[in-house]
């Protein structure tokens, strides 16, 4: 009796482990199909409960954070007001150039961020797993969000929507190990692929030829090349270090992300789906 039960348990263990392995094997290819639908359903069930927990715990956290950081918050508020004033001034001054750029981009069929519609979303949680850099936001298919859409905020590229349900979306941040973004160094013709590593780690750039002239502090933008997953012109990061290791076939370049990924309260989801 005990043996039969043990055998059944082992069979169940092997069967479920095999199912898991098959799911892992197919998760990449079928993310937009059946698995995508299952993920949306699972996420939709959890998100209202998470919102409730968040609504209960956030005021408590805010109370302590506000009490401890009152001086810093007041000072930051003043700085932000000053920045908003400057930006308003700049916006007026540059509106003419932006309009010209839009028209030129339209002529060249290059998607430019300024010409695209965005949806502003509030962050509900960040990095659900220690092994993935993600952000969950409170906007989903009901607001026109779809898998693959780029996300910007906090000064640059934040990431890309990877899972979406009716009222929430999960965004893979640029720092995630599975994130790969086509980039261009400033106004040069130097292209590369920007890869994430993990939360808090710098971004790496691949496929830049040895001894290419790269400046420290130079900004890397999305290149928007044909078939790219992001529109052109979004700042990804600034160069922190650049060197050519001995006998290497490419440069070793590290970037600091342009977006302040540690303090993302709101982000803009760009209503733009990559061309297939």
């Amino acid at each position: 009796m005990a043996t039969r039960r043990t055998r059944r348990t082992i069979t169940t263990f092997v069967a479920l482990s095999l199912i898991s392995i098959i799911l892992i094997a197919f998760s990449g290819q079928a993310s937009s199909g059946v698995i995508g639908a299952v993920k949306s359903l699972g996420s939709a069930v959890v998100s209202p409960v998470v919102s409730l927990v968040d609504a209960v715990t956030r005021p408590i956290g805010n109370l302590f954070a506000g009490a401890i950081n009152y001086g810093a918050v007041t000072a930051e508020n003043g700085r932000l007001r000053a920045t908003i004033g400057r930006l308003e001034q700049q916006r007026t001054a540059t509106s003419f150039q932006v309009q010209q750029l839009k028209e030129l981009s339209a002529l060249q069929d290059v998607p430019f961020l300024g010409s695209l519609k965005t949806v502003t979303a509030a962050a509900t949680s960040i990095d659900t797993s220690n092994f993935a850099s993600t952000l969950v936001v409170n906007k989903g298919t009901d607001d026109g969000v779809a898998v693959g859409m780029p996300v910007v905020g906090g000064g640059g590229l934040v990431g890309q929507v990877v899972t979406v349900s009716s009222r929430s979306s999960t965004i893979r941040l640029v720092t995630d190990g599975a994130s790969h973004v086509g980039g261009v160094f400033g106004r040069s013709a130097t292209y590369g692929v920007v890869n994430g590593a993990a939360s808090g780690r710098p971004l790496d750039v691949d496929f830049v030829a040895p001894h290419t002239k790269i400046r420290i502090g130079q900004t890397v933008f999305t290149n928007g090349l044909n078939g790219a997953e992001y529109p052109a012109g979004i700042p990804i990061g600034t160069v922190r270090s650049a060197s050519t290791p001995v006998n290497s076939i490419q440069m070793s370049i590290q970037l600091a992300p342009s977006a302040d990924l540690d303090h993302l309260a709101f982000v803009d989801i760009v209503i733009w789906v990559p061309s297939q």
Binding site: T9, F13, S20, V53, T128
Partner: protein, 180 residues
């Protein structure tokens, strides 16, 4: 397992995921935070044996996979393994509570938490998730030890409530009461 017990267990899993996402994800040291989802299959295994433990581990992991951009099925595989291993302990007579010193439950919780993040990291790296190797494991280990040890007993109580008469049914009621 009865339908009512399954429903109550689903509620417990949902509650743990909600606490994880809504509360513990914000409890960061550096860039890592504790993960408590692995306490559920461990508790079910310890209370109801390996078969229940691995099934609940699989389903809870699958649910968690819905929220993550990591390979779908990886959490399910880790949950299955933890539930099964915890169930093997139950089969070998390990009882959390009655007649045991107080740290057995928290100790097993910490072990489940460490096994969960360790297994997840190693399996992920093996299947080509290079970023998994860059996680700050030292801080994560310390954090996981403290938080999972602290929360194991509340999770165990919740799972015992969910399982009803199926959780520890082989032990006499008086001994169980004394244990808690």
């Amino acid at each position: 397992m009865t339908g009512r017990a399954a429903l109550r267990l689903a509620l417990v899993v949902l509650g743990v995921i909600a606490i994880q996402v809504g509360l513990l994800d914000a409890l960061r040291v550096g860039h890592v935070h504790p993960e408590i989802i692995w306490l559920v299959p461990a508790s079910v295994g310890l209370l109801a044996g390996p078969e229940a433990g691995l099934v609940v581990g699989f389903l809870a992991g699958l649910w968690l996979d819905c929220l993550l951009p990591t390979p779908f099925g990886l959490s399910a595989l880790v949950g299955t393994s933890i539930g099964y291993l915890a169930g093997l302990l139950e089969q070998r007579g390990v009882v959390v509570g009655a007649g045991q010193v107080f740290w057995v439950g928290p100790g097993l919780g910490a072990a489940a938490g460490l096994l969960g993040v360790g297994l997840y990291g190693v399996l992920g790296w093996l299947i080509g998730q290079d970023g998994f190797a860059s996680v700050d494991y030292l801080v994560l280990t310390l954090l996981e030890l403290v938080v999972t040890a602290s929360l194991m007993m509340p999770v165990l109580w919740s799972v015992r409530w969910a399982l009803g008469s199926e959780g520890g049914a082989r032990r006499p009621r008086r001994r169980r009461q004394a244990a808690w």
